[in-house]
Amino acid sequence: MTIIKASPTPALPAPLSETSVIGWMQKNLFSSVFNGLLTIAALYIVYMVVKGMWVWGIADAVWVADSRRECFSINPDGACWAGIFAWVDNIFYGRYPREELWRVNLGILSLFIWMIPLWLPRVKAKISIGLTTVFLYPFLAGYLFSGGDKGIFMQIMLTAAIVCLAGNTIHATIGVFTGRSLPEFLSSLFGKKNVHEKTQRNIFLGIIALSFVSIYVWQMSWSLGGVSWTKWGGLFLTFVVSGIGIASALPLGIILALGRRSKLQVARVLCTSFIELFRSVPLITVLFMATTMFPLFMPEGFVLNRLVQVIIAVCLFNACYMAETVRGGLQTIPRGQFEGAHTVGLGYWQTMGLVIMPQALKHMIPNIVGNFISLLKDTTLVSIIGLFDVLNMLRAIGKDRTWLGLHIEPLVFGALLFFLLCFVMSKYSRHLEEKLSTNQNN
């Protein structure tokens, strides 16, 4: 006999273990006597560690003092954060002249202003904004940071960067409020609505040229005092090295990865050996090679400053790691995607740029950001070859006469600083992944 139910079985309430806190604890923490004991032991250890850190780092800590001796006299058992506060400018800017710090701040601020439009809704032409960030911002920042006499090339690039920054910002503001682009807005200013694309472009280019000329004339009227790279230091130097590393590692890595997969024998062999060479040595070796060996091979009188050597070394080293990440991402793209692109007539670069890379990069985001995080941490190695990055600055505190022997607190502070930076990056990569995967269900 078969039983046929006319209506669906009503849903039963979920068991207690799935819904209440006590049920969850019973199931996950106290499922047996032994597990219960383990839980209690673990809680005790966590309590001891947290309590110790709390007492040392906050409850007993000294926040205001003029020297380490004073810290000791106030409370010898607590941390002496006063030393960190006294050195905070050194930690962030190194020995950069104190009256010129605004230049560093302005440089970093302008990077944010430059990049904010990338995150805003309704702003068009984000790809050009991104590209100008990579290609023009370095000149603006470079001049702000190092100053000195402007060569003709520097004058042109600096002007272009300023025009571009202003243009981007206006474009983004218009975009947020009206959803239009700068060229569209400009031609409507002249009372020409719905004009042909070409006229629109001409008006836009004309205004750009005009502002280029006026800013060029304006920038000739001032210049900034030179600051030698030897005065750069602290977190600022860390950002410079890792920032350039991050910005160049991805494009270089993509080129190397494509070269390694190329059908051209020469390109493949060159890229493969380059990647394998740099990947098989530690970064510190590459850094020593760049700063001590490399000048030996150069003709006499050829002097490159050490910072540039270090930055090139970091870029090449990370490009090789990035190349392998990109290659891994490319291998996740099925062959059918290449064939699909070929059959609609796309050539090699179009196939790569429009079909393969966008998909591969999406798969690679966690690995790419992982590379960026390790790059940021690896830059502390430049302290070994004598650049005063943030780590070296932190260690210098303990050698300062007033703060002699203050070693633990700066390192704890450094750990917190790096944790914060890396954590933000990794959270942002999670956010990117989710954002990119919501608009396509596959």
Binding site: E339, G340, V344, G345, L346, G347
Partner: protein
């Protein structure tokens, strides 16, 4: 009434096909191909006329997919010559790119671009390879989406569509390039049974427009309705080549008979 009309159009199409059939559009001349040691195409000779509809069948591994993939140079042949639309296929990349814009191809696994919307999938080739203005490309794409009866899906992503819909999009994507030849590589093999018909219907409609089509398929009823010629391949050889009526009712070769017994 409508029946007589379709009969009439069919007649006109047949006349057109026979009138155009003197123009050769694809020519294989003693083509040989190996995958390492494996001899996958053996001395293939084949002439396809403009407007002809050819069905290629055969057991798996017989080289039928390889045969049609040679036409747009997704596979490289080692010996012999292939001439497509008057252009000889060789290492010249410019020729290959040109031929690929003239030859559309539909795959078993659709190979749509999952990161682009349906409309973007359709306009990518026209905009970048044909340098068509964006607005024109989109209007053209909508026209073809209507023809495959899914204009309402234009803004979705491929992953949100059923297999049958995806395959129809893939057909529309190829048609957007306005090709002279359409190749189909087992277009219904990856589909659930209830979706096969919607794809075949689109293909039959396409055949009625006089498009040159080469179809690798196991759908024998489809072959009977639309094919001008059926080609049977086995172990890299073209074993038999015949009109569908002859091919199915009266196969010449032992191997063909055996194959037909197995699948019918």
């Amino acid at each position: 009434m409508t029946e007589t009309k379709t009969q009439e159009t069919q007649k006109i199409n047949e006349q057109l096909a026979s009138a155009a059939s003197t123009e050769v559009i694809i020519e294989f001349n003693k083509v040989n191909k190996w995958y390492a040691d494996f001899h996958v195409l053996r001395d293939i000779n084949l002439i396809v006329h403009k407007g002809e509809r050819i069905v290629v069948c055969g057991p798996s591994g017989s080289g039928k997919s390889t045969l049609i993939r040679c036409i747009n140079h997704l596979e490289e042949h080692q010996e012999g010559s292939i001439v497509v639309d008057g252009i000889t296929l060789n290492q010249n990349l410019k020729n290959i790119d040109h031929i690929r814009t003239e030859v559309g191809m539909v795959f078993q696994n659709f190979n749509l671009f999952p990161h682009l919307t349906i409309l973007e999938n359709l306009t990518l080739g026209p905009i970048w390879a044909r340098k068509m203005p964006k607005a024109d490309a989109q209007a053209n794409a909508m026209k073809y989406l209507e023809r495959v009866k899914i204009p309402e899906q234009a803004d979705k992503f491929p992953g949100q569509l059923s297999g049958g819909q995806q395959q129809r999009v893939a057909i529309a994507r190829s048609l957007c390039m306005n090709p002279k030849i359409m190749l189909f590589d087992e277009p219904t093999s990856a589909l659930d049974p209830e979706m096969i018909k919607e794809v075949l219907d689109v293909m039959v409609e396409l055949a009625d427009t006089g498009m040159t089509m080469i179809v690798v398929t196991h759908e024998m009823n489809f072959a009977k309705t639309i094919a001008d010629r059926v080609i049977f391949m086995d172990a890299g050889d073209i074993v038999e080549e015949n009109a569908p009526s002859e091919f199915f009712d009266n196969p010449e070769h032992e191997r063909t008979k055996k194959f037909l017994d197995q699948i019918l």
